[in-house]
């Protein structure tokens, strides 16, 4: 891909002397879907319920006896040309010279432009109330490739905890590194290459029945998954103001109007909460 530079972000560090270009390779042939990566990340960052920096997309394929579970660990792709960075109005999110896409928590205003911009759904908004009052609230959060560990010579928490050694992390500018070798030796794919973001999380075996984007996500959504999704939305009333619950009754003209009115009511209550007049937590 030819070099493009947008706005104030650092240009890609791939091949730049004296700089590192951190990347991750996920070998789906090895991944067992144990979820240790997601749990290690949750613990490392004390993430609240309902938000994830890394999560597993999984799907049950086929019918008994020919069944298979396919799993893809999904996280921020630390793109070379990140749309989130381009769209952040306060320069809160930025591209580090060594390839990380990071967030300055003190600048973020919680406008969610970056969440809307991200094709990978890698970002989330932290809830307004957290058990530990010292932790940031109501700002955007996402995977940081564990820069606090990597800068001390440690592997990211998910990589360190991977039971099948399916996740490999390293510097692509070091030709001796395992990630650089794997990229040369193996057939690798990335998620949503059509977005032009040059993602830096590479997958081996994605083409062997992985939960690839976007076709499987759209066409293979099971009824059970839809039900879970609707239940999740019903139980999170008030956290976000655009969640529409699917279903004939809920999305009829009357049902839709009721949902819109409900969201607006939540928003007005939220205004009073932000002023400090009421508390729902």
């Amino acid at each position: 891909m030819s070099s493009r530079s947008y706005g104030l972000q650092e240009p890609p560090s791939l091949g730049v002397a004296g700089r590192k270009r951190y990347a991750m390779v996920v070998d789906l042939r090895r991944c067992t879907g144990c979820g240790a990566c997601a749990m290690a990340c949750k613990v490392e960052f004390d993430l609240p319920l309902g938000v994830w920096r890394i999560w597993l997309k999984e799907e049950n394929r086929g019918e008994f006896p020919n069944v298979r579970k396919v799993v893809v660990p999904t996280l921020c792709n630390h793109c070379d040309y990140p749309i989130c960075v381009r769209n952040c109005p306060t320069e809160s999110t930025y591209k580090h010279a060594d390839g990380f896409v990071l967030i300055r928590p003190n600048r973020c205003i919680g406008c969610r432009a970056c969440i809307v911009a991200c094709p990978y759904n890698a970002r989330h908004l932290l809830p307004a109330a957290r058990t530990d009052a010292q932790k940031p609230t109501s700002i955007t959060d996402k995977c940081s490739f564990c820069i606090h560990r990597v800068s001390r010579g440690l592997a990211p928490a998910c990589v360190a905890s991977c039971t099948a050694r399916a996740m490999i992390f390293g510097d692509l500018n070091d030709p001796e590194s395992e990630v650089a070798t794997l990229l040369l030796k193996e057939n690798v794919s990335v998620l949503r290459p059509d977005m032009g973001t040059a993602p830096q999380v590479y997958y081996i075996g994605l083409d062997h029945g992985g939960v690839t984007d976007p076709i499987a996500c759209y066409t293979d959504r099971s009824v059970a998954l839809k039900d879970d999704f609707n239940a999740f939305k019903r139980n999170h009333n008030g956290l976000s103001f655009g969640d529409i619950v699917e279903g004939e009754n809920e999305t009829s003209a009357l049902g839709f109007t009721r949902q819109v009115a409900g969201h607006l009511k939540d928003f007005i209550v939220d205004i009073f909460e932000k002023i400090g007049w009421v508390s729902r937590h």
Partner: protein, 302 residues
């Protein structure tokens, strides 16, 4: 079941109803102001009597906007981070940074124009009115662009999105203006009541905008039917989850029915234009809901 809930991280629709309402209000404000400018800026004398009212209505509509935007932020007190004069940084590639500048200055431009109309200062009203028209168009154009500059979000990621937002703004602005002017007639003296031919004239303008809007939305749907998997998914959502706001409210009640009214003999009567205006103003709200929510909804489940 529990396993899937835990591991398939569901995502929220992050820009929701308040943002759709904001887009609708900004659009109506822009449309109302464009009508206001016809008399004093572009010299169409028959629209002069409503210029002052239309401009003030546009200001009132826009004054609601900051409350929607600021309280939709996660960190309300950090709204000042959007203003380079306060913070010293300015991210020029972010459409929201430009939008902040426009939303903050557009009411000022309109207020100056309104004041000059009030003082009957034709020369300067034309100059400041022209500046404010550019601000009005830019302010609404940027809302479309903000949605369009997200490559993974359909149906917004097209070059037509901003235009569709603008034309929708034009017709919903006129529609809402007609309805409010008609309500105003109940409270003013007989001499100040609206000339009935004015309503028909505004109805003709609305019909023109309506035809362009139908053409644009037709082009969008043609594009989608020959589109990517995501665009097919948008079509699926339009016919299922978002049937009420998009198919029924926007395309049916907001575009098709007003078109039928306005091209029929009822389109030359006050009652017909008034009905079409109310339908268009609410129909465009359905479009805002659909275009804001669908683009995120299609991505939330994975």
């Amino acid at each position: 079941m529990e396993r899937e809930i835990v591991s398939n991280a569901f995502h929220h629709v992050n820009w929701g109803i308040p943002i759709a309402v904001y887009f609708w209000l900004v659009g109506s404000s822009a449309g109302s102001f464009v009508i206001s400018s016809l008399g004093w800026v572009f010299g169409i004398k028959k629209f002069k009597p409503i210029s002052f009212f239309a401009s003030n209505l546009a200001i009132v509509q826009l004054l609601i906007v900051p409350a929607l935007l600021v309280f939709d932020l996660g960190r309300v007190m950090r709204a000042s981070h959007l203003f380079p004069l306060v913070t010293g940084f300015w991210h020029a590639t972010a459409s929201l940074a430009w939008g902040t500048a426009l939303v903050a200055t557009y009411p000022i431009g309109m207020a100056i124009y309104s004041y000059l109309i009030y003082k009957h200062n034709e020369k300067w009203a034309r100059v400041f009115g022209f500046i404010a028209v550019i601000q009005a168009i830019s302010t609404h154009w940027y809302t479309g662009i903000t949605m369009a500059l997200n490559p993974s979000r359909h149906p917004n990621h097209t070059a037509l999105a901003a235009l569709l937002f603008l034309i929708g703004a034009f017709i919903s602005g006129i529609g809402l203006l007609i309805v409010i002017l008609k309500i105003r007639d109940y409270f003013v003296k007989a001499a100040d009541k609206l000339d009935p031919t004015m309503i028909v004239g505004l109805g003709r303008l609305m019909l023109l905008g309506l035809c362009v809007d139908i053409f644009l939305v037709f082009s969008e749907f043609i594009h989608m039917t020959y589109g990517t998997e995501e665009e097919f998914h948008v079509l699926e959502l339009v016919s299922t989850v978002f049937r009420a706001p998009v198919l029924e409210l926007y395309l049916g009640l907001g575009l098709a029915l007003p078109l039928a009214i306005l091209v029929s003999p009822y389109g030359k009567r006050n009652g017909g234009v008034l009905l079409a205006s109310a339908l268009i103003a609410t129909g465009i709200f359905g479009m805002r809901l659909g275009w804001v929510l669908i683009s995120q909804f299609s991505q939330t489940i994975f």
